[in-house]
Amino acid sequence: MAITFEHVDFTYQAGTPMANPALTDISFSAPDNCFLALIGHTGSGKSTLIQQINALLKPTAGKITIDDFTITPKTTNADLKPLRRHVGMVFQFPESQLFAETVRQDIAFGPQNFGMSETDALALADQMLETVGLKAEYADRSPFELSGGQMRRVAIAGVLAMQPQVLILDEPTAGLDPQGRQEMMSLFGRLHREQGLSIILVTHQMEDVAQYAEQVAVMRQGRLVKYGSTREIFSDPQWLFENQLEEPIAAQFAQGLSRRGMTWASLPLTAEELADQLASRWPKGGQADV
């Protein structure tokens, strides 16, 4: 689903003395089947922005288009049900929203809520459990007996069971150990590649941005200050530095070699890209071509 923002403003508690502008004049367009990373400091408006996409918060001005759906300040909640089916949202620490007696029932809750029969929803739940990499034996367990990482997978399976076309992820790996983080990110990569899901990822992990994202949006103080391909965003180290954004470690390392005189076809963003470029000029039993 293509997502377009046109001059979107959002103010918390608009029209009251507590009014607090959180988004100002946001315009961008993300193509269908995007993998968009949303980066920026804490408080820059990232979480407010993603809540506009399934209209948990509606813009105070401007327009959002998601395929055939349009959200404006006048959109009523009755119009939003079909949209919310298509846009799945995984909040921060989604495991805190688990509630059912068994893992299977928890995952099946969403589809049933949208009118699927119990039999179909439970069957779908088992399928989703497999998708997120949990063994079938977990289906009958209480979600509260699971480890933090497993609980998070169940919560994500619950969102995937709605069969969304857009998956919004708000810091989905926060608090997991490195192995858990890696497994979670490769799951999202696979959903994107194999099932064509559009993914919007809010993150502070530049390594994940470099490895998975195709587009990057940079937020600062409620404004979209840069939007482009991942390579474009990371091609300007000076701008990143001025905006206190970290570069991927591979890019930092490559620039150490640049300072000694090495040149790059394009700045490597991951260890794999860096190794590719180093290997291409490695001396074959003799000298390198630097």
Partner: protein
């Protein structure tokens, strides 16, 4: 003084689990040391931290803190010596304002008000949150909340600071700032630091690293020795350092890098020498 903490053959089981969460753990901590404890999610690290602070009643083994053996009768004497910071900043804020929160520990210790006020102020200054004394916790970022939690600890002047994944919910700037602050506090207040972490930068700053797996102490080594394990690190609950990832990627392309541990600068040197004409 000898060791500030001595743990001998500690075993702990949660009542509803068959397997012990900690099994036969023994180690010591020297005063002023920075000890990192690593291990993957569910390895027992946090259980160990809670045992040290007397938050979990272990039945086997002994824990001695500052010469006092931890028992039901001495638990308050032991806790006097330990300040603890947890993962989620929202779960440890008790005051309605920043200064109330910092004062909480002092109120518990019945410090008179005229002494309390300057101590709260000094503690907030120490962590760089002096301007935030009247603010409500909801208006603070995660990193700021953790600094306030640190101020609460500074105010009660413990000998030992335990960080239980205290930086894992912060953004990279917040994390770097917090570690810098802990290093500075350790220096100024002569603290012994125990940090339970998945963060390689945090572990790299330690004097010594303990690895816990499945409730057992499986390794005790310097950060350099731990980091030389390369891709085994992920199983220990740590990330693989970039240099190890790069070496693996080069090897996959038929290039053989040195096998011993290397810093970023050493790796850069090696690559430059291999590639340049000299």
């Amino acid at each position: 003084m000898d060791n500030i903490i001595e743990v001998k053959q500690l075993t702990y089981s949660y009542s509803d689990h068959e397997r012990p969460a900690l099994s036969d753990i023994s180690f010591t901590v020297r005063p002023g040391e920075w000890l990192a404890i690593v291990g993957h999610n569910g390895s027992g690290k946090s259980t160990l931290a809670k045992c040290l602070d007397g938050l979990l009643p272990f039945t086997e083994g002994t824990i001695t803190v500052g010469g006092t053996e931890l028992t039901e009768d001495t638990v308050w004497t032991v806790r006097e010596q330990i300040g603890m910071i947890f993962q989620n900043p929202d779960n440890q804020f008790v005051g309605a304002t920043v200064e109330d929160d910092v004062a909480f520990g002092l109120e518990n210790r019945q410090v008179p008000r005229d002494k309390m006020i300057p101590r709260v102020r000094a503690a907030l200054e120490e962590v760089g949150m002096g301007d935030f004394a009247q603010r409500q916790p909801s208006s603070l970022s995660g990193g700021q909340k953790q600094r306030v939690a640190l101020a609460g600890i500074v105010a009660i002047t413990p000998d030992i600071l335990i960080l239980d994944e205290a930086t894992s919910m912060l953004d990279p700037q917040g994390r770097t700032a917090m570690l810098k602050l802990v290093r500075q506090l350790r220096e100024n207040q002569h603290l012994t630091v125990i940090s339970i972490t998945h963060d390689i930068n945090e572990a790299a700053g330690a004097d010594r690293v303990l690895v816990i797996d499945d409730g057992k102490l499986v390794e005790e080594a310097s950060p350099e020795e731990i980091f030389s394990k390369g891709d085994q690190l992920i199983a220990l609950g740590l990330d693989i350092p970039f240099i190890a990832k790069l070496k693996a990627a080069l090897k996959a392309r038929g290039i053989v890098p040195p096998t011993d541990y290397q810093t970023t600068a050493e790796m850069e040197d090696w690559l430059w020498r291999s590639l340049s004409n000299t």
